[in-house]
């Protein structure tokens, strides 16, 4: 694909749309815009623009379409697969100024937000009003737009599903500048092909999201967490299907190992309330009263003890729970602080997690590379990190490539998918292409062609 390089008249035109305060060129472009949180991809855009309306974005896209200039959308840049990195240069379109919560409709239990609203701000705003926005990705400084673009998941997915399950409507600017509305403030929708759901998770390759309608739920009155120490990670993970089978639905089921907890302690400078066991499950339940939750946790507690848990520790107050979830939330940053690393975010059927984790342990031994895993035992989505530590960079990269190939093969063999919640971006593109096979990849590329015939939106990503 050949793209036009931006020239002075292009910059002047874009400046006319967004204003001189909201356009950055050359040295004024911060280094941050050249990468995301983890992915290796690194590339500077030729210009950064910060429009504040769908109309402005429409004008930018009409121009870019005509001039054949690539456009990459960026929210908070907290992705892990290079999805927001402008690898073909061109325009980087930041959603930073589209950060208004437009409406919280308590009659329809829906909220309308702009894509640049920060997840944490939104969660806090609706919780103060007694509502829950159920998707709960770990990275709270991400934007809702980014969450929608990657179909982000998070801890509460076990009970409430992922971002896609909570989006009912979108306003989108298409690559040619047309503004369309997909879905709406409706609880049901059987009206033709669901372009809405096609747009969710399309990682900025099909259109630019400018407005999002999401569902709200009544905020559960009580939340309770169990920390369950196990003598081994396998025992911990093998207990999860038994819990699921008991017909209780936890909000979240996370697994973790001691040394990741120790890393998080060091990183946060806080003490974790238990750390003598090799492995842990962290479970969270919500309900309307503590007595309701007590019934549930006693059932789950018995299952855990019968499955060999050392104990079941009850965090029943906010003070007792916060420390646990703060540590869990810091795992990624804590590992990043220790070593260069890259990740695999596969999802497998829930009952196959133990097999997959066992395999990572085998690879760790075979390759002599530190591999650390934690993640969502309740929904089969694991985050596996391959750490460089002191290893020579080239040696590590070569080993990592082999390890990743084998991990994705294993995931596929177990009936899994390449990415559970982080998306494909550029880092996982080869694995997705391999996984989908010729027929499916051809279908996906035809869809891309329909939306974006000139391939100007986030080129080189996903497929």
């Amino acid at each position: 694909m050949h793209y036009s390089k931006l020239v002075d008249t292009d910059i002047a035109y874009l400046e006319g749309i967004v204003g001189s305060e909201h356009i950055y060129v050359g040295d004024a472009i911060l280094e941050d815009y050249a990468h995301d949180e983890l992915g290796e991809a690194r590339a500077f855009p030729e210009v950064v623009v910060e429009p504040d309306s769908a109309e402005a974005i429409s004008a930018i896209m009409r121009y870019a379409f005509e001039r054949n200039i690539p456009v990459t959308v960026r929210g908070s840049g907290t992705g892990l697969c290079g999805g927001c990195v402008p690898i073909h240069g061109g325009i980087l379109l930041s959603t930073a100024r589209l950060n208004r919560i437009l409406e919280i409709d308590t009659d329809n239990l829906m909220a309308t937000v702009e894509p640049g609203v920060i997840l944490l701000d939104f969660q806090e705003t609706v919780e103060k009003m007694g509502f829950l926005y159920a998707p709960d990705p770990g990275e709270k400084s991400a934007t809702i737009g980014g969450n929608v673009a990657t179909n982000a998941g998070g801890m509460r997915a076990v009970k409430y599903g992922v971002t896609r399950d909570h989006v009912t409507g979108l306003e989108v600017v298409l690559p040619n500048g047309d503004i369309v509305e997909l879905g709406g403030k409706v609880a049901k929708n059987s009206s033709g092909y669901s372009l809405l759901h096609l747009m969710v998770g399309s990682e900025g390759t099909l259109g630019i999201i400018t407005k999002i309608i999401v569902k709200l739920l009544p905020l559960p009155r009580k939340v309770l967490t169990l920390l369950v120490p196990f003598p081994s990670l396998e025992q911990a993970i093998e207990t999860v299907p038994k819990i699921i089978r008991s017909r209780v639905i936890p909000q979240a089921v996370e697994f973790m190992e001691r040394d990741v907890i120790l890393s998080a302690e060091k990183y946060l400078g806080k003490t974790f309330p238990h750390k003598t066991a090799p492995a842990y499950l962290l479970l969270r339940f919500d309900g309307s009263s503590l007595s309701e939750l007590e019934e549930i946790y006693e059932l789950v507690g018995d299952i855990c003890l019968e499955s060999g848990a050392e104990d079941v520790l009850i965090a029943d107050t906010p003070e007792r729970q916060d420390g646990l979830w703060d540590a869990r939330g810091a795992f990624l940053e804590a590992l990043k602080a220790e070593s260069e690393m890259d990740e695999v975010d596969v999802v497998v059927p829930r009952d196959k997690i133990a097999v997959f984790i066992r395999y990572t342990k085998e690879l760790e031994k075979e390759y002599g590379v530190r591999i650390r895993s934690f993640g969502h035992a309740g929904d089969g989505n694991m985050h596996v990190y391959i750490l460089r530590d002191e290893m020579d960079r080239e040696v590590w990269k070569a080993k990592m490539e082999e390890i990743m190939d084998r991990l994705y093969d294993k995931g596929s063999e177990l009936g899994g998918q390449v990415s559970g919640e982080h998306g494909i971006g550029i880092a996982k593109r080869p694995y997705l292409i391999r996984e989908l096979g010729d027929t499916l990849i051809a279908l996906q590329r035809q869809i891309k062609e329909v939306f974006d015939p000139k391939h100007i939106l986030n080129p080189g990503k996903v497929i």
Binding site: P273, D311, L313, A315
Partner: protein
């Protein structure tokens, strides 16, 4: 070693609502929990027991539903629990509360160390711990931030003096009140909860404390009468003072005089 921990059931949450007309805290519809600071005192006792051996007894004064915090203490490692519950104990201020708890502690097997939270999150007075110690004529230290070691007949602790840390060796038996710095409390154990489900809680009423002066219990033993209870006004004029304890004390005195409060 016999460790005794005084615990209290308090309303959950950081903001306690107040019924200004009746002059009481609104407790209806509010879930209760173990006073946060008491969890640190209990953890200190259980950790000392694990290190040096002994038993941990918890004692609480309150209505029958306060048994819940004693049950909770069992899940945190306490061995025995006593609830002081009697209408005669109701309406107690910090002095009457200290008296009742002290009289109960006198009737327990000989005690080596009494631990309290530095204060409760509902009353916030920080007086009951030292009050008990005075009534039992025991040495005591408030605002303990660190327990160094328990030796044959004494314990070495750090206490927060506001403008510095004092390290003390205190002769046993004694009483300590604990801050949040003293440790990181463990989480309640479901294993212990299962094991202590039918464990007895000894309930003592005023008769069980026979020999004590009943006039010192409850409302009649409380020189402090609540005249009015109201949430502290917010956003009022405030002055920030800095200086040594002596200077601040003097300024405080002068200010109270100036405002004609004394």
């Amino acid at each position: 070693m016999h460790f005794v921990v005084c615990i209290k059931q308090v309303p959950e949450g950081t903001e306690v609502e107040i019924d200004e007309e009746k002059g009481v805290l609104k407790r209806e519809g509010v879930e209760s929990k173990l006073n946060v600071y008491d969890a640190y005192a209990l953890e200190a006792a259980v950790a000392l027991k694990e290190q040096y051996g002994g038993t941990v007894t918890v004692i609480s004064m309150g209505p029958p539903q306060a048994m819940a915090v004693i049950r909770e203490a069992y899940t945190l490692g306490a061995d025995d629990g006593y609830l002081l519950s009697d209408r005669a104990f109701a309406g107690a201020d910090t002095l009457a509360t200290s008296y009742t708890l002290a009289e109960a502690i006198r009737r327990l097997p000989p005690v080596d160390l009494i631990l309290c939270g530095m204060q409760t999150t509902d009353g916030d007075t920080a007086q009951v711990g030292p009050g008990i110690a005075e009534l039992l004529n025991l040495p005591h230290a408030s605002y303990v931030t660190k327990i160094h070691e328990l030796g044959g007949d004494s314990i070495i602790v750090d206490t927060d003096m506001g403008d510095g840390i004092e390290t003390l060796r205190i002769k046993l038996p004694c009483l300590l009140t604990c801050t949040k710095e003293v440790n990181e409390p463990r989480l309640p154990s479901y294993r212990l909860k299962r094991a202590t489900r039918d464990k007895e809680i000894t309930v003592w009423d005023s008769k069980a404390l026979s020999g004590a002066n009943v006039a010192y219990f409850g409302l009649s033993g409380s020189p402090t009468q609540v005249e009015r209870i109201f949430p502290p006004p917010r956003g009022r004029d405030k002055e920030m003072w800095q200086g040594s304890v002596e200077e601040l004390g003097r300024r405080f005195h002068d200010k109270l005089k100036e405002l004609k409060f004394v």
